[in-house]
């Protein structure tokens, strides 16, 4: 009898330890790190999200969001100013807000931005965001820190999707950090330098939150759409920060995204002087150069998950 019990415990232990729960998402070493731009796209988009119908769409524009460049250190126009102004409405980040508006001459705008992003990264809010490729978007690094492709995800227009292991319970704001990227060989004979017009691209970005519809075994998709000039100077240090007050955007629908458990992003390149499809005059032989959206961070500051 005792032997049988011991056998059962041992079998249970063996079963438990043969799970491999953290290796569901495995990649080859060096994947997404290639010197060839075209090999670094991340294209995982769960079919459950692709097939989910668009329930409602919200336009994000200048009236209900702020948009800036991380390296804008002008105290009045820097993204962090708008972020702290908005956060302040919810009684969040009181200390940072006061510090920012204290009139201190030596205030380091970039330093306070870094502190804010590091504190409010999703990885800090819920440990479930520390696992998987998606954790590149939850680590608080909103721009390149010197480690190149380590910190961002390179996206095609079809984009990517991610189903979370938790549901969004409470929320106030949302932040996305991204930039444009190309494989144009700047500095060569045909492309000796970037012109001002080439340093940006007009891009239509769609990002969605999904709420599970258990009755129909599908998701309700709530999509946010915005058209922006995206920095495309191939400098990883320079990223755009889009910051949204969800209440301003959703208005009476604010509660619709409660229990959201998935996210996706896709885009359409509308205009760039050199790149297809809207490029004005691509040089012969260079038609195949591409634009990619380099996605650095997704934040839902002060959100709670269950």
């Amino acid at each position: 009898m005792n032997k049988a019990k011991i056998g059962l415990v041992f079998t249970a232990l063996i079963s438990l330890t043969a799970c491999g729960v953290e290796v569901n998402e495995l990649f080859d070493a060096g994947q997404f790190e290639s010197a060839d731009f075209l090999e670094n796209y991340y294209e995982v988009f769960p079919s459950a999200l692709l097939e989910s119908p668009l329930t409602k769409q919200y336009v994000v524009d200048e009236t209900n969001s702020s948009y800036g460049n991380i390296f804008d250190t002008n105290k009045e126009t820097a993204p962090i100013k708008h972020i702290l102004d908005t956060d302040h409405e919810f009684d969040f980040e009181e200390d940072m807000y006061n510090e920012y508006n204290s009139g201190t001459a030596s205030l380091n705008v970039l330093d306070i931005s870094t502190r804010y992003f590091s504190k409010n990264r999703l990885l800090n809010i819920d440990q479930s965001f520390k696992y998987g490729y998606f954790s590149k978007l939850t680590d608080g690094l909103v721009h390149c820190d010197g480690s190149g492709s380590h910190v961002r995800i390179q996206l095609k227009e079809q984009g990517m999707g991610k189903i979370f292991s938790k549901e969004l319970i409470s929320y106030s704001t949302m932040l996305l950090a991204f930039r444009g990227g190309t494989n144009i060989p700047w500095g060569t004979t045909n492309y000796p330098y970037l012109t001002q017009s080439e340093r940006k691209a007009e891009v239509l970005i769609n990002f969605s939150l999904y709420v599970a519809d258990n009755d129909n075994d599908s998701y309700n998709q709530y999509q946010f759409t915005t058209t922006r000039d995206v920095k495309t100077d191939d400098n990883g240090m320079n990223t755009n920060i889009l910051y949204i007050n969800l209440k301003d955007v959703l208005d009476v629908d604010e509660l619709l995204i409660k229990r959201a458990s998935a996210f996706s992003i896709s885009y359409e390149l509308l205009d760039h002087p050199t790149l297809k499809p809207a490029g004005g005059s691509p040089l012969i032989g260079y038609e195949d150069y591409e634009f990619a959206l380099m996605f650095y961070e997704l934040m839902l500051p002060h959100s709670t998950w269950n």
Binding site: L13, L16, T17, A18, C19, G20, V21, E22, V23, E25, L26, F27, D28, A29, Q31, S118, L123, N124, K130, Y131, G132, Y133, F134, S135, K136, L137, T138, D139, L141, H150, V151
Partner: protein, 483 residues
């Protein structure tokens, strides 16, 4: 109940006897129990309050000091004991003030300053207590490691499955935005946290457990220990190690066991002093010392040495190996940072730029400077010789002596070649760790110091200790025994 006059007088005499005893002698069981707990929690590391454990060790050493004082009064033991304590104290001072140790943490500094001496003293003093059985101390140490290994492996298998080191070779996973090779890591328990660590951590702990296998095979069946639970515990510890080696799998760890296997086998078949073995040992030591000397000269680019080494293809290949290259770099830099590297100040958030020599002596050279390195090297040489004297003595049973020999040799081989300085990620602190495995703060190092202290005075047989350095009131105790 009416007390007889004889009883009252007997009680008074007992009290008088106790007044003459040291605190340790009056509370032997308590002190031993407390210390066994310290050993268990040090190796298990559940609290991960390494400073607290070190301080408890220091306090226990302070209360047991009266037992060590006779050793300092005796002419035969005075010099070797003072030498060892002096070396460890100076090593402790230079370690405590090293730049790699945070100056902001006074508790860590103070605990490091005294811990090395304290654990060595505990080994010296507890060895003199008749009530102390070192087998229980060994079991406490090994049980702590075994529990740590077992829990860590269950978590590892839960996360990565069995045989992940082989099956997932070349695959990476992402953690907190960074990628890690699955086959190069295991999950490990740190206090109440689980973190991702490199394989060296597993090798060190599993290697320590595996070191018990050969002594068990050679001596356990014939050992006079009547307590069957001790035997079961030792077999269970060896079984856990074997299972871990197979299921990860981690066959490389067997390589580190070779020296201890050889020495335990020699001890088994040549238990007495053998002139030829001694000569072979000294020759081996001489060759090793010569190689180290040449290594130092090569590191400093002494012309004729470099030319000589470059001319011998095999030796040249060894010195050109990246692994040895790191050792040479460390030696070269020793005069740049004579008090220890300031690397920790530069790499606070990016320890990936830091490096380890994977050798405890050279890491000491980098972290704590030249003086600490020299003191430690001298101590290891002296204590190493004492270990072999102990093995040839008749102090303990052959099982205990071979277990201690195997444990210490395996430990020092592992930390000489494969010291696990870094863990892969320290996600809870949001930075990569830089000091979690520094040798000075290693729990197993303290445990080894205790064992080295225990074996240090072996030439003085237990039966003759009282003659050399009498314990207070020992005659009375013996009289009582006769009555």
């Amino acid at each position: 109940m009416k007390k007889l006059r004889k009883d009252v007088i007997g009680n008074m005499e007992e009290v008088k006897k106790q007044e003459g005893k040291t605190f340790v002698e009056n509370n032997t069981s308590l002190i031993i129990f407390l210390f066994l707990e310290v050993l268990f929690f040090l190796t298990f590391g559940i609290i991960k309050a390494d400073s607290i454990m070190r301080i408890i060790g220091v306090l226990l050493a302070v209360v047991s000091l009266p037992l060590a004082l006779p050793l300092l009064r005796d002419a035969k033991t005075k010099i070797p004991v003072l030498l060892a304590l002096g070396l460890l104290f100076i090593y402790g001072v230079f370690t405590a003030i090293a730049p790699m140790i945070s100056f902001n943490n006074m508790l860590t500094m103070l605990s490091l300053l005294f811990a090395f001496v304290a654990f060595f003293i505990l080994g010296l003093t507890l060895a003199r207590l008749p009530e102390f059985n070192v087998l229980y101390a060994l079991l406490a140490i090994l049980a702590g490691v075994a529990l740590l290994v077992t829990l860590s492996l269950i978590i590892t298998f839960y996360a990565y499955g069995f045989l992940h080191i082989v099956l997932l070779k070349g695959k990476v996973i992402y953690l907190a935005g960074d990628f890690y090779q699955v086959s190069a890591q295991v999950k490990w328990l740190f206090g109440f946290d689980v973190r991702e660590t490199n394989l060296n951590v597993a090798s060190l702990n599993i290697g320590i457990l595996l070191s018990t296998v050969l002594p068990i095979i050679f001596y356990l069946p014939k050992d006079k220990t009547k307590n069957k639970y001790i035997k079961i515990a030792l077999i269970a510890i060896a079984a856990i190690a074997a299972l871990a080696t197979i299921l990860l799998p981690l066959p490389n760890v067997l390589f580190y066991l070779v020296p201890s296997l050889i020495l335990v086998t020699i001890f088994r078949f040549y238990p007495k002093n053998d002139k030829w073995l001694k000569i072979i040992g000294y020759v081996f030591l001489g060759v090793f010392g010569f190689a180290v000397f040449i290594g130092f000269l090569y590191a400093f680019n002494v012309g004729f040495i470099v030319q000589a080494i470059d001319a011998i293809p095999l030796v040249n290949r060894v010195f050109a190996h990246p692994y040895v290259g790191v050792w040479l770099k460390t030696i070269r830099e020793m005069f740049v940072y004579p008090m220890g590297s300031i690397e920790s100040l530069e790499i606070i958030g990016f320890s990936r730029y830091s490096y380890t020599t994977e050798n405890f002596l050279l890491d000491t050279l980098r972290h704590s400077g030249i003086v600490a390195f020299l003191m430690l090297a001298a101590f290891i040489l002296i204590a190493g010789k004492k270990l072999f004297v102990y093995v040839r003595s008749d102090r303990d049973t052959p099982l205990i002596r071979s277990l201690i020999l195997s444990f210490l040799i395996t430990y020092f081989v592992l930390i000489a070649i494969n010291y696990p300085y870094h863990q892969l990620a320290d996600l809870s602190a949001n930075t990569r760790a830089i000091d979690y495995f520094s040798f000075a703060r290693s729990e197993l190092w303290l445990v080894s110091l205790f064992l080295l202290g225990y074996v240090y005075l072996s030439p003085v047989k237990q039966s003759s200790i009282e003659k050399v350095a009498p314990l207070i009131n020992v005659p009375e105790l013996e009289e009582n025994a006769h009555e």
